[in-house]
């Protein structure tokens, strides 16, 4: 059953991270991505790991749901890691030398770092989508795009298009599911046969799906018109986004992370007389 697939994989819970303002969460995710790219020393990875673990604990999302997102990219991570090991040029401590391939300690470390970076990127963004409903996300984006109004960018239209698209994904998913069941009941077989046969077997699903998508779009356009949508230039919101103490705490916490990463990169500017560059 496709019932398990909820787009944006939102995980309903009542937690600190869930209650944060979506705008702040969006900015913090961007900040987090920057921090991940700033990382040089393996010690800063420890800082980031702690940061992510605290974030996950503060979201009340079971670790299983979060790791599911990592499982999806594990192939990409492994592939880049292997390529990095082989194509990293430089490094002195040679481990294996065979034909044109040289594997050095440095190349292994580099590959490990890149792999960790990818995993952290996915973990951070997943935490955002798991704790924020798609509607809240678009609201947040709309609010963040507000400066673009100055250059007459139709942010409100873009936002409504985004939220309609997001809103309709689960509906269309359900529709796919229904049509598939109906065609299965008529003996359609989606599971066996080669690639071509399977692709062709999807036609009885895709055609009704397109027909219904257009029908829905038509009906929605009519409904929007009937309610005089866009007739008022200044729309008010039912749910007004408000910053709270949680947002301040989250921002402070992320600032701490960036500071830690920068400080570790610079070995605390030599204040303590040791080097952390590994």
């Amino acid at each position: 059953m496709n019932r398990d697939i909820t787009f944006g994989q939102y995980y309903p819970a009542d937690s600190f991270v869930h209650k944060m303002d979506p705008r702040v969460k969006l900015i913090l995710v961007v900040a987090f991505i920057v921090a991940v790219f700033l990382v040089k020393s393996l010690f800063s990875y420890i800082a980031i790991t702690i940061f992510v673990i605290v974030g996950i604990l503060g979201s009340h999302v079971p670790i299983k749901s979060i790791l599911k997102s990592v499982r999806g990219i594990i192939f990409v991570v492994l592939l880049t890691a292997i390529l990095n090991v082989f194509f990293y040029s430089g490094g002195e401590r040679v481990l294996v030398h065979w034909w044109k391939i040289t594997i050095t300690v440095e190349s292994l470390l580099f590959a490990l770092r890149m792999a960790l970076r990818l995993i952290f990127l996915v973990l951070g963004t997943t935490l955002l989508t798991l704790t924020t409903t798609p509607m809240n996300l678009t609201d947040g984006m709309e609010s963040l795009m507000a400066p673009l109004k100055l250059i007459r960018f139709p942010i409100h239209d873009v936002a409504i298009i985004m939220s309609i698209a997001l809103r309709f994904i689960p509906i269309l998913m359900e529709e796919v599911n229904k049509i598939m069941l109906a065609q299965k009941a008529r003996g359609a077989d989606f599971e066996s046969g080669g690639l071509m046969k399977r692709a062709r077997a999807l036609l009885p699903v895709l055609i009704p799906l397109f027909v219904s998508a257009f029908r829905r779009a038509d009906e929605l356009a009519l409904a929007l018109d009937a309610r005089c949508y866009n007739a008022t230039p200044h729309r008010t919101k039912y749910k007004v986004l408000k910053l709270g103490w949680r947002d301040a705490a989250g921002a402070f916490y992320s600032a701490l992370l960036i500071f830690a990463v920068v400080a570790i990169n610079a070995s605390f500017w030599g204040l303590f007389g040791f080097s952390l560059s590994v």
Partner: protein, 285 residues
């Protein structure tokens, strides 16, 4: 026995926050020739139940047997099962996809292993059976048909596979009163000549009362009653708490009782009610 369901339970999305128990210990059997109505409010498990009969939901607990196809074994013959049980979903016109009506109706038989000629012959028979003009309609695109015609074409698509059991999920939803009556009349005539057993989900108690000879009442995943419509609609006791109401005919009978007019039995069609009232008021003229 054409259908035997024993202790059937099913839970959606096990282990996620969306986990929902849809069926809980449902058991019943249906013999060949019955017309059975299934009623229950939204989310009572009716659709989950009938989807099991067609192997569209994997059996997880309990057993389902359709003729001699046992669904609790490891690899049941789904093709055979789906050819035996014809299933009409809600708004079946949304499953039409082929270029022509003939091709669309022949889709089922072709899937079940018929040759092109056999499938076309079966499709022609089915299209005529549902009361559409075969010559006029066969080369039309299904999307050109009117709403009522589309639904008939979709029903023909199910009948073309010559099912022994017909399962209908709200066959009259979204149709106007005339369309509703026509579809019900079609189902009644099919029942006499073509399919042996009919299962029908409906929210319309009038239809259930008039057309079914047995009713299963579902509530929160449980089968709370399995009886004749006359008994189930005798008073509100069985339906209380299910969100369902009595058919209009039964309500009129109850209203008459409060006025001191007692009818013989529990007439559920408009015609039977009229006769019963005439009898109670001192004979027909």
């Amino acid at each position: 026995m054409s259908i035997e369901v024993k202790d059937l339970s099913y839970t959606y999305s096990v282990g996620s926050p969306f986990q929902k128990e849809a069926l809980n210990g449902v058991s019943f059997s249906i013999s060949e020739g019955e017309t059975v109505g299934i009623i229950g409010s939204t989310g009572s498990g009716k659709s989950t139940l009938v989807q099991h009969l067609n192997g569209l939901i994997k059996l997880t607990s309990g057993s389902v047997k359709v003729y001699d196809i046992d669904l609790s074994i490891k690899k049941p013959d789904f093709k055979q099962l789906r050819a035996t049980v014809g299933m009409l979903f809600q708004y079946p016109e949304y499953q039409l996809f082929e270029e022509t009506v003939l091709k669309d109706v022949a889709f089922g038989p072709l899937n079940f292993g018929a040759t092109k000629e056999e499938a076309d012959a079966a499709a022609e028979e089915a299209i005529r059976l549902v009361g559409l003009d075969f010559e006029e309609i066969k080369d039309k695109s299904p999307f050109e048909l009117s709403g009522g015609q589309k639904r008939r074409a979709a029903i023909a698509g199910i009948l073309a596979s010559k099912p022994k059991i017909l399962v209908l999920d709200e066959p009259t939803a979204g149709l106007d009163p005339v369309g509703k009556r026509e579809i019900l009349r079609l189902i009644t005539s099919l029942k006499k000549s073509y399919v042996k057993t009919v299962l029908m989900i409906s929210h319309n108690m009038d239809e259930i009362g008039e057309y079914c000879d047995r009713v299963l009442v579902m509530s929160e995943g449980k089968l709370i009653s399995d009886n004749s419509p006359q008994n189930i609609f005798a008073d509100e006791s069985i339906l209380s708490g299910t969100g369902l109401s009595l058919p209009h005919t039964a309500r009129i009978r109850r209203m008459l009782e409060t006025q001191g007019v007692f009818l013989q039995g529990n007439p559920l069609s408009a015609e039977a009610l009229a006769y019963a009232i005439a009898d109670a008021l001192g004979g027909r003229s």
